[in-house]
């Protein structure tokens, strides 16, 4: 799809605004949707086909509980999530999100029954055009997720898990899934790209895989005596795996000696689901910011074209303002940087730099300043993740507006130090620090498969590479028990500092 250089002019102008009653109707939602769609087309938003679904609050809670997906396999942790959500909602501690949107093709957006017409319009613009175009455009999503087959895959996963429960008992499956979930953040290929498969292929391959994987595993542990004339290849020095492996679940799926075929398949399911959500964890600021920017832009354009009444405008703007509120540090509502606020501000700022650059902007963003804003924005949406997006586009002006400052917390010092603030000497450092903050590598510990003791007790050694000397928290021992359950033999975890020295060890004996 070729990018538009500038928004197309309006094709029609409204003779009178769309009605904005508090109660929506299907017919009215359809009319709003048509206008929003036409407006989005003017800006060249390229989306998957939209499927809007109206659901009740209870169904929204159901969707919440199963990580936002319309189907998922059954597990107690989703039940816990559901009970917690239901309780908070019923007691009025929290409102539900206005929308859930699923990265699938067609892209499913849930509209909640309770929303007013103005809110439904906001949700459609935000989810069905903002998020949807992000899912379709961003490189991480294009590379890692397959929108066309995810629902099918989850249906397959649900049935497979149910069949396992029937065959092997609820307890066995539950315990095993617990262990897989404990490692799900470490079941992701960060660099390799998965291939795309249809459901039919998946099913056919699953059977082949079962048979094949089992023979492969056994090969590792072959105990048959070697032929006498075979050259001995210094087994003491040969390590397995030869290179450290970052995808723990993948390694276990392929190499754990004692797993049954169905257990390998469960590991694979958890791994696949984790992989599907991996891009979302890396593009929170970009994704929410993009959707927020576009609902703001689309609805404002519709107002300019005479489609929206003042009442509708005030209603969605109120909600919009709440969403992009950034409480300052120290405020009781403060819990880190609000991704909606930062993302929205950054896209808005990029547009400003394109249209009205200052001298400062020209110095900082020579190729952005004065460029047409629409293609620039699309470029920024497609080719970055949070880490690089912040590193590339956070402008000094925004840093001043947000009054960003960086704090260094060094264990060896008694006090915290303000390492940089929003001034001439600090811009680059603040930006760099914030960019690192969104690097998943620094948010989650880097743990890799280091060695398997092939000739001895078959124990597995994992190694934690400390990021700036940060240790693991106490939960590590518990997680290690889960690893041992998956591996079937003893498991060791070593934590190493930057110099490569092991500073701490954990050990769990085999089950």
């Amino acid at each position: 799809m070729t990018d538009l250089l500038a928004p197309l002019p309006p094709t029609t102008h409204a003779t009178e605004p769309l009605p904005g009653p508090s109660d929506w109707s299907f017919e009215l939602v359809e009319r709003y949707h048509q206008v929003i769609r036409a407006t989005a087309e003017r800006f060249g938003l390229d989306t998957y086909p939209n499927q809007l679904e109206v659901i009740t609050a209870e169904q929204m809670m159901d969707a919440y509980a199963s990580v936002g997906m319309p189907v998922n396999y059954r597990h107690w942790s989703y039940g816990k999530e559901f009970i917690a959500t239901e309780k908070n909602y019923k007691r009025g501690h929290m409102g539900l999100a206005y929308e859930i949107v699923i990265n699938s093709n067609p892209c499913i957006s849930y509209l909640m029954e309770e929303n007013t017409m103005a809110m439904q319009a906001l949700v459609i613009a935000h989810a069905a055009y903002g998020h949807n175009s992000f899912f379709k455009g961003n490189y991480l999503f294009r590379m890692w997720t397959d929108a066309a087959s995810i629902i099918d895959y989850l249906v397959y996963a649900k049935n497979y898990v149910a069949a396992c429960e029937e065959k092997h008992g609820l307890d066995a499956v539950e315990l095993f899934l617990d262990s897989c979930h404990a490692l799900s953040n470490h079941g992701v290929d960060r660099y390799r790209r998965p291939t795309r498969k249809s459901l039919a292929q998946e099913l056919a391959e699953q059977r082949d895989r079962e048979a094949y994987a089992q023979t492969q595993v056994n090969d590792l542990w072959r105990t048959l005596p070697r032929r006498a004339d075979a050259p001995d290849e210094a087994p003491e020095n040969k390590r397995f795996p030869e290179e450290p492996q970052e995808n723990l679940l993948y390694f276990i799926e392929k190499n754990a000696p004692l797993l049954e075929p169905w257990q390998r398949e469960l590991v694979r399911i958890v791994r696949k689901v984790a992989q599907y959500f991996y891009p979302q964890r890396q593009t929170q600021v970009m994704n929410e910011g993009w959707a927020t920017f576009w609902h703001h832009k689309l609805l404002n354009t519709m107002y300019d074209d005479g489609y929206l009444t003042d009442g509708v405008m005030i209603e969605w703007l109120k909600s919009h303002t709440n969403v992009i509120y950034q409480p300052p540090v120290g405020h009781k509502a403060y819990s880190g940087i609000n991704p909606y606020a930062l993302g929205f501000a950054m896209y808005t700022d990029i547009k400003r730099i394109c249209e009205q650059p200052t001298d400062e902007d020209r110095a900082w963003f020579p190729e952005v300043a004065g460029a047409p804003w629409l293609p620039t924005l699309h470029h920024a949406m497609r080719n970055f993740k949070d880490e690089s997006f912040v590193g590339q586009y956070l402008s000094p002006k925004l840093m001043r507006e947000f009054r960003l400052f960086a704090i260094t917390d060094d264990e060896r010092q008694t006090e915290l130090e303000v390492s940089a603030i929003h001034d001439e000497s600090g811009y680059r450092q603040v930006r760099e620090t914030l960019s690192h903050q969104y690097d998943l590598g620094s948010r989650e510990p880097n743990i890799q498969v280091w060695n398997v003791n092939l000739r001895g007790d078959r124990s597995l050694t994992l190694r934690h590479f400390q990021h700036k000397d940060r240790p693991l928290h106490e939960g590590a021992q518990e997680v290690l028990k889960h690893v041992a359950r998956l591996w079937g033999f003893g498991v060791h975890l070593e934590s190493t500092n930057a110099a490569g020295d092991v500073t701490k060890r954990w050990t769990v004996a085999g089950p």
Partner: protein
């Protein structure tokens, strides 16, 4: 442009999470059973059928993952700088991370020590309770089933469905309204018509003409009164009432002598609850009579029944005598279905046991529908032996030893079987 559509999913299954909820309950069965047990001990017999709040310590629910602990070097960016400049030093906030934990996600699944609290529904609560008592499934469904309802007339309402429209009432209302609303106008019309008649008699056309116009206006106004207005409509009202069967009284007899400790009383309580639950399925109105005894019997309220403790010896017959007295005084056997439930540890003054058997056999058993005895201790003493003789000649007498909750149900086996067949 591709197909775009809005789908109404509101009617499609809303309880998608029910399977997940079941798994959650299953996993925490031990805690839930404990909580249900505590709740039963704390509740009145009549109060058994409702949900319960369950507390589960958060650490039992945590799903461990690898994460960073405190320590090492962390660089964090915060918004909202007030007056810091580069190089400022700030005191470390207490409690590890504190203000410095700017990871952008304050999750609720943290390691807080608060309990995870949720409500067990009435059905789930009863399910756990029944499981404890090892009730067979058939009986479970029988007990869990909602009492039958009968729809009964209850006057008229102004709101309802067309099939309940009461035509006569509605028309009567309409007539009343037409009369009431039109009364003033009609009176004025009558006056004017008389005046007009007079004027026409006198031939005074000048004054008669405007009067005719006024009369025409009044007629038009009367004609505009609607024949039938929505406010006239009356609908037959029906309310649901539980099918009235008849009334029953349940006697709870318990030994409270020194040898009955708390555990035995709790067991007895479950025994009473089970009978009560059974009776609530069959009777509209159930009265409870609590009689406790040591060497003397007394009628007490529920609180005192379960929680007061006496010392001294045991004369079981005193309770049976009192039960008979209460029946004669207040519960005429021809009007009331009488049920007796007795719990004791089997300890009795040995000369008294024979008298107990006689009392039951001659005086009480002819009066009651069913009498169940549970001995909440293992050893068989003379009371047990005496009662055993009763089972041969009396089919509505049941007895059982129970040292665990799951052993209580068989006492009622016959009762459930018989009554269940009738009810079915």
């Amino acid at each position: 442009m591709s197909l775009q559509s809005i789908i109404d999913r509101r009617l499609a299954g809303k309880n998608k999470s029910i399977g997940n909820r079941e798994r959650f309950l299953r996993r925490h069965k031990a805690q839930i059973r404990e909580a249900v047990k505590r709740a039963i001990d704390g509740r009145g017999i009549r109060d058994i059928e409702r949900g319960e709040e369950i507390h589960i310590p958060k650490r039992d629910l945590s799903e461990p993952v690898f994460g960073h602990g405190s320590g090492g070097v962390r660089d964090v960016v915060h918004p909202g700088n007030k007056d810091f400049i580069r190089g400022d030093r700030i005191e470390r906030p207490k409690g590890g991370g504190g203000g410095g934990s700017g990871k952008g996600q304050a999750s609720d699944s943290g390691e807080g020590e608060d309990d995870f609290v949720f409500a067990l529904s009435k059905e789930e609560f009863m399910e756990v309770f029944f499981e404890d008592l090892a009730l067979p499934n058939l009986v479970r469904t029988q007990l869990a089933e909602v009492p039958e309802w009968k729809s009964q007339r209850a006057g008229f309402t102004s709101d309802g469905t067309p099939n309940n429209l009461h035509v006569v009432r509605s028309m009567r209302g309409a007539i009343g309204r037409r009369i009431a609303i039109g009364a003033g106008t009609r009176r004025a019309l009558r006056d004017m018509q008389e005046r007009l008649a007079e004027l026409e008699r006198d031939g005074d056309e000048v004054q008669a003409r405007p009067l005719r116009l006024e009369i025409a206006a009044l007629r038009a106004r009367l004609a505009r009164i609607p024949y039938l207005d929505p406010i006239d409509l009356r609908f037959r009202n029906r309310v649901k009432v539980p099918v009235p069967t008849s009334k029953a009284v349940m006697f709870c007899l318990m030994d409270v002598s020194g040898s009955m400790d708390e555990a035995r009383k709790e067991l007895s309580k479950r025994f009473f609850i089970l009978l009560y639950l059974f009776l609530t399925r069959h009777y509209d109105k159930i009265e409870l009579v609590f009689i406790r005894h040591h060497t003397q019997a007394a009628e007490v309220d529920e609180e005192n029944f379960f929680h007061a403790r006496e010392t001294g010896g045991t004369v079981v017959s005193s309770a049976l005598v009192l039960m008979e007295e209460v029946i004669r005084a207040r519960y005429n056997p021809s009007e009331w279905n009488i049920y007796g439930a007795q719990a004791s540890d089997g300890d009795n003054w040995h000369h008294d046991s024979g008298r107990c058997r006689e009392l039951l056999n001659d005086r009480l058993l002819p009066l009651v529908r069913y009498f169940a005895y549970v001995q909440v201790a293992e050893e068989e003493q003379n009371l047990w032996e005496e009662y055993t003789q009763l089972t041969e000649s009396n089919r509505h007498f049941a007895m059982r030893k129970a040292v665990e909750a799951s052993e209580i149900y068989p006492v009622f086996r016959d009762l459930f079987k018989k009554e269940g067949a009738q009810a079915a």
